[in-house]
């Protein structure tokens, strides 16, 4: 199963990666060969088989809806390089930076 270069570019855009030409070549080749291997599953008859999405999902339960102590604001912001007061600061979604 071979991925086209255009498909690889499309996936890279979806996962927010900018790839060099060399990376695009490499991943096109490597992902194609991995997909070749994993497609062996497609021949298997799984009609009537329930998918497994988690191991203990049948047991999961809700906790009591009571507030508990979380991180302090300073801890939440500890690793942020761009911030303003108690908030994360991000570049504008569109257009030029507004300083």
């Amino acid at each position: 199963m071979s991925l086209s270069r255009k498909e690889v570019e499309h996936i890279a855009a979806l996962v927010r990666l900018e790839l060099s030409d060399a990376e695009l070549d490499l991943f096109q080749h490597q992902l194609s060969s991995i997909l070749d291997h994993v497609k062996s599953l497609q021949g298997l008859d799984t009609r009537g088989v329930e998918p497994t999405s988690g191991i203990l999902s049948a047991q999961s339960r809700l906790r009591e809806d009571v507030p508990n102590v979380g991180l302090k604001k300073a801890e939440v912001l500890l690793n942020a390089k761009h911030k303003k007061g108690d908030q994360f600061r991000v570049p504008p979604v569109f257009g030029a930076r507004d300083e």
Binding site: I34, V38, I55, S60, E75, V76, A80, F88
Partner: protein, 489 residues
């Protein structure tokens, strides 16, 4: 080697609790050994000598004050922690450039419980980036070397913890196992490693890779050593929604001297083409040893074993692609200056992630994308059900299942570079336990012609960690593979 660093957990605990050695002298001995060997092994990403000495000093003070009163069970015992588990105030990189400067504001539950039991943290160990790999070569912070042969990999992704324990830089280490990342490095380094049942040990504070597969485990010299740590880490944690509520039963290692009554299943699917001859021979000899100790050996079938690799390499990357979406360059990790939000995302991720991580998030996103979801991701989840059922069927007739850990012994550094699929094949025998969520314990059973360690694993029913530890303890009472040490350095 200082005599202290030659000692194992089972020997150190009674010495510490009797006050025959202090935590400070023990911690200093390990730090000195790390200093002399880290240059050749490179087992660590971050060393924490100041933290360790402070914790050791506090442990010794606690010991002095306790008098004849009860002491925390591991008081003063030094350990190492894989650098994907959060320790408050200590940077946690996950082996990735994107987290090079990240300092977690909280501690993982698994680590926190051991700290409450008295351990001292010597440092954070090397790992494949975000635990994606089988050799620890995918780390952004350099390659870890196998103490048995420095030209070879220690396995991965918990290769730093495995090399540290095998090289006697620490008596025990924490690792994580999503597809074999505790067991395979334990096998390559000639030590023991437990992957618990999914949900048995809290994942809180573990930076997520494959959320339905990730488990936190222990690497040490023997089942007995692992049994000293594991029950203290395990058990329900309200901070992990998938944490299991099953009670932790005490482990009774002294209860059995032989394996009478233990039915050991041997799946022929694990002994096919691709298995190195020395590995097969050592594993079969170990199974015969178990039989001579009273175990009943039975053939079992796990017919969907060959599909574990394709199932895993769809499900794990799919989960990874979702988990790693949080690395957006806004709240933590690499946060480049950029003119727009999109540029910030793209720059942080393109500069911060290494090639294996990029490969897996692309593969996972592809498998989840419109048009491929049913034929790839959904189909993989269905085959996962078949693999899980294989084990349920097999465990109706046997108590544990014995198999090799990896098809080969430790390979040369660079041996699989450029061929991700060849690297993935290293995991074929370890992936099924993660997909089924069952516990598995790897332990050494011999050496190949080149003098490299060979590992075997026992897989058990869900929550049967104690049975695995007790059975392997019996085996280790009658063998000495786990007492072998790498060439002196």
């Amino acid at each position: 080697m200082s005599e202290l660093t030659a000692l194992e957990v089972r020997e150190l605990i009674p010495l510490l609790s009797a006050g025959k050695i202090s935590s400070l002298e023990l911690t200093r001995a390990f730090l000195e050994r790390i200093q002399s060997l880290e240059g050749s092994l490179h087992a660590f990403i971050t060393l924490t000598p100041e933290l360790a000495l402070e914790q050791a000093t506090r442990a010794d003070q606690q010991w002095s004050k306790a008098g004849s009163g009860p002491l925390p069970p591991l008081l003063g015992l030094p350990i190492v922690v894989k650098d994907v588990l959060s320790v408050k105030g200590v940077r946690c990189t996950c082996g990735s450039r994107i987290l090079e400067d990240y300092t977690p504001p909280f501690t993982a539950t698994s680590v926190q419980r051991l700290l409450e039991a008295g351990v001292v943290v010597l440092g954070k160990t090397n790992t494949d980036e975000f635990a994606m790999g089988s050799s620890t070569e995918n780390s952004a912070f350099g390659v870890t070397h196998n103490p048995w042969d420095l030209s070879r990999v220690p396995g991965g992704s918990s290769g730093g913890s495995a090399a540290a324990v095998a090289g006697r830089l620490a008596p025990a280490g924490l690792g994580t196992d999503t597809g074999g990342s505790v067991r395979q490095p334990a096998s390559f380094c000639g030590i023991s490693g437990l992957k618990p049942t999914y949900g048995r040990v809290s994942r809180y504070g573990l930076i997520a890779y494959g959320s339905s597969l990730d488990s936190v485990g222990v690497l040490a010299h023997s089942a007995e050593d692992i049994a000293a740590l594991f029950p203290l880490m395990a058990g329900y944690d309200p901070r992990d929604a998938t944490s299991a509520q099953e009670p932790i039963e005490p482990i009774s290692l002294q209860a059995r001297e032989i394996l009478k009554g233990v039915r050991v299943g041997v799946p022929e699917e694990y002994f096919r083409e691709g298995l190195q001859k020395d590995v097969e021979n050592a594993v079969r000899t170990a199974i015969a040893k178990m039989e001579s100790l009273g175990a009943e050996i039975r053939a079992v079938n796990l017919p969907h074993t060959e599909f574990a690799l394709p199932v895993y390499y769809l499900i794990a990357p799919a989960e990874a692609s979702a988990n790693l979406a949080r690395f957006d360059g806004i709240r933590f990790g690499m946060q480049p200056d950029a003119d727009t939000l999109l540029e910030r995302f793209v720059q942080a991720r393109s500069q911060g992630f290494g090639p294996e991580v990029k490969r897996r998030i692309m593969l996972g996103t592809y498998a989840l994308s419109a048009g491929y979801y049913e034929s790839f991701y959904r189909q993989a989840q269905k085959v996962r059900t078949l693999i899980k059922r294989d084990f349920e069927d097999a465990f109706r007739g046997v108590d544990v299942i014995a198999a090799p850990v990896a098809p080969t012994t430790a390979f040369q550094i660079g041996g699989h570079s450029g061929d991700p699929l060849a690297m993935y094949l290293e995991d074929i025998y370890t992936l099924p336990a993660n997909l089924a969520g069952i516990p598995a314990l790897a332990f050494p059973v011999g050496f190949d012609g080149a003098g490299l360690p060979i590992g075997m694993q026992l897989m058990g029913r869900p929550f049967a960690e104690n049975q695995l530890l007790e059975s392997v303890h019996v085996f280790q009472q009658h063998t000495d593979w786990h007492r072998k040490t790498p060439p002196a350095r």
